[in-house]
Symmetry: C2
């Protein structure tokens, strides 16, 4: 799993970082971040207003692999307040490191999912006391939720990002054949339908498996569905 700082890429998407900064200004939180994970290639793309030192440390140490805020929020529907996270080993490790870099440990993460099974995680941290945080949170939670949806919507509508997140792109034929497999057809059936040899069908399935990093066609179908490349039928 690889973490990519999108603001640092050639065609830097600084608009998104600017939007995060604006959210900080308007809501009174200290830092804001957005990360989108591809369910398949495992890459994580992120924007953040965190200081460069922490950003670099986070990426170098690959903390996104251990970060309990990401892990918990990606399995939740509602926002996850960091005070409710389990005090696991990972939790202590990541939050201790953050504290060393002057990053507050008060905040929350909002998960946002789209129709392709992709997940966006929108986090903010506040330098207030835990008591004041409760009041602030109550006041701004609706705005944060809306900002998270807006951010995810914009990111997913960005051609470049959607290409990265939807990667690996299956070829038209591969998707067509995978869709038939998901509909319960055999390779022979599909060969007849498409007027090609069942052997050819099998080759397309093999390359689909490779691109999706799947061990079996069933796993490939599952991934393709959870990515929205095909629809269950």
């Amino acid at each position: 799993m690889e973490l990519v700082d999108l603001a640092a890429t050639p065609q830097g998407q600084s608009d998104f970082v600017r939007y995060l900064a604006q959210v900080c200004d308007q809501t009174g939180v200290e830092y804001a971040s957005y990360a989108a994970a591809s369910p398949v290639n495992g890459k994580v793309f992120a924007f953040t207003t965190y200081p460069d030192r922490w950003k670099q440390h986070y990426m170098q140490q690959e903390l996104h692999l251990a970060d309990p805020t990401l892990h918990t929020a990606s399995r939740s529907i509602a926002p996850v307040d960091w005070s409710r996270l389990e005090r696991t080993e990972s939790f202590n490790s990541v939050f201790d490191q953050a504290r060393d870099f002057g990053i507050p440990d008060v905040g929350l993460t909002i998960p946002i999912r789209g129709p392709y099974g992709e997940t966006g995680l929108f986090s903010v941290t506040s330098s207030t006391t835990p008591e004041d945080w409760l009041k602030l949170r109550k006041r701004i939670i609706a705005d944060l939720q809306l900002a998270a949806v807006y951010m995810h919507d914009r990111v997913m509508k960005s051609d470049r990002l959607i290409d990265l997140l939807r990667y690996p792109a299956l070829s038209r034929r591969e998707i067509e054949i995978l869709q038939w497999v998901a509909a319960g057809k055999t390779q022979q059936d599909i060969g007849d339908i498409l007027s090609i040899s069942p052997r050819t069908v099998e080759v397309h399935l093999r390359s689909s498996r490779e691109k999706l990093n799947a061990l079996s066609t069933a796993q490939a179908v599952g991934r393709a569905i959870s990515m929205g490349l095909i629809s269950p039928s």
Copy 2:
């Protein structure tokens, strides 16, 4: 595809309807609805504050099959304002019928998705003019978004509802084995892991296919994933 009015079921979940009514009061919209769709059995479960006449008509005519608000929002990330919907045949049909029942055609639908791929749709309608609606929407959109997330979270945490949505129930062994298949394991692998004969593994897969009405194991895996019975891995 079947539409079920959850408030009318034996153990009526009237708390949810009460919550919708509360949303109406606090935001100034006329009606509010929530619907959750199971991707596989196609059933749609709904709560609403609409008048009984419209509710009955909607269910009898199975309008949820044609309703463009549901169709569009279920493919969107951000809220869908009904004024932006395409004027298709379905659109005119459903909205004309609604008008006959005195239901406003001004409103929006907010899609909410959870970690299992399930989708919730939260809709409100306003009896204001389109111009006033823009102002009202701007003021309440964040609260509506939060209410939608809250509603979906609560519904999904309701044991009875999640059981309904996850129907048909596979046995523990069937789910366990299907999960391993989705993880790319062969029947032999799974037999070794579970210390049973690979033949037995195959029998469980066969009954899984039958219950999910799937022609192949790959199709069964796809359905199980889109139902949230198992998670893609």
